[in-house]
Symmetry: C2
Amino acid sequence: MARIALDASGGDFAPERPVAGALEALSTLPKSCEIVLVGREAEVSAELERQGGSRDRISIADAPETIGMGEKPLAALKSKRQSSIRVGLELQKEGRAHAFISAGNTGAMMAASLVVLGKHEGVERPAIGTVLPTIGKPVLLLDAGANVDCSPRELLGFAQLGAVYARDIFGQPEPTVGLLNIGEEPEKGNTASKEAFPLLQGNTHFHFRGNVEGSDILQGVCDVIVCDGFVGNIALKFYESVGRTVINLMQQELDETVVQSHGARRVFEFLDYSTYGGAPLLGVQGVSIICHGRSSPRAFANAIRLAFRAVDAHLSDHIHDEFVPDGVVA
Amino acid sequence: MARIALDASGGDFAPERPVAGALEALSTLPKSCEIVLVGREAEVSAELERQGGSRDRISIADAPETIGMGEKPLAALKSKRQSSIRVGLELQKEGRAHAFISAGNTGAMMAASLVVLGKHEGVERPAIGTVLPTIGKPVLLLDAGANVDCSPRELLGFAQLGAVYARDIFGQPEPTVGLLNIGEEPEKGNTASKEAFPLLQGNTHFHFRGNVEGSDILQGVCDVIVCDGFVGNIALKFYESVGRTVINLMQQELDETVVQSHGARRVFEFLDYSTYGGAPLLGVQGVSIICHGRSSPRAFANAIRLAFRAVDAHLSDHIHDEFVPDGVVA
């Protein structure tokens, strides 16, 4: 059994889209999967009814407060003890849910995950992983924005987190990891990446593919790509915006019938980052998934499927084992 | 009069494409513009004849050696004194050309530009500027890869270089500059960007637009975006590869007639970074333009037009004046 808590008050189109995503996900997930919608009870209940959702595998946890997108994370967490983000994570902490998903304030979601769930022993800094579509297999890029100015050791930690993810979620028994850099040679890059190279090369946890360049990200050359959160966040947001720009351009330049065609829609789907599921915060004790504020119902459904998969595969336990093997504290 | 030297041996498709680009550029540039093709004389001469090019405004400077794409820049520059890159830059140094363009080894082009042309007084580190298409006006992103681990002062220097470029080449009398970052607030970012913010804000040379995010790059929110060369290079190469990936996907998913349509070709043109002109190395004494190894004839023609514009606008003199105002050494 897996019970996934979902922030029904988080994101730009709440509660409509999270609720729609929950219903969509439940239609395909095993019967043993349940969803807890976290938000203003009356509002969420009304929305669920409006969408004709059965209460069969859905329950509601009341959270009368919401942290706005523009609020300062730490201050908001302190002043709003009944926010959906806090209530949702506490459900997980208390064992009444196995995962929590939110499209609300990203900073608050990160901070609350650290405060409520805590880090796994041995993990220096949790990282946001984001899955990018490639023409072939998907690739996990991390860190996508949780940490700036990362040390070589932290980059190694991200690689370990990513490798566990690739094993559990991508089903890659022997994941390959690349270091995002500006050239293939080990001596290329900034100080952190040059010093991270031998650390990554010397590890015994995953296969280090060496440096990968910006041009390799979508080429499926490895399962995991590590970088600091400054570079990762800029690359990710740039990517999203290139996608939106190209979609607009295609809609402007191509005939209406072409724009409506199956083929064009496949291109749009590839380009529209908001259709992808959420980004897990890896390294915390539990499953915490951050969604884009503008997530579509399909994106929420994908995030729920991802959460289910993470719970089912014991991702959090495996991260624990990766950093504290055989119960020995590093 | 402007005489532009072009590396006819540089790039993956030399001498064919550089020569074709030269002929294309000359057909539209003022009669006072001449081109010097730098490369193996017999080979370049034969190619020029094959393409039916008149010798009217084209001359050839013999350079019997070529630096390969994989060669170590400094070693190659030392051992190959007669390489096309070195010969072309020396033509400029001696006043026999006003600009040099190469699609050859980027590292060798940067190193040779510094050695042969030298930096402008007051410029800490020259930067590669790259023009990205936005839906509206173009934007100059720099540094695109010449410098990693940049100090806040160096980022300020890039902003000054970019502002001069925007005035001279974009024709923006009051250019706006943004700092590439992971959030809008001044306190966001890594150490270098946080410290660069007040320096940029305090300057009197250009209008500082504040922090811009990855999602803003293509939105035309400012004329110049500054970042360190690590981030800039990764973003740029990522962008190129997204473009190629989307073009492939469109060719795969859309009907042949659609792919051949005027509208689709406009989308491809937007996405194909290799069609854009070269990237100037700003801060050296002269005009040095780096082209993509896979540049099309049109890309070479655009780079030649850019070089002509830079010479005509006295870009290099204006960079000198920016860093050493009124002859006072900083």
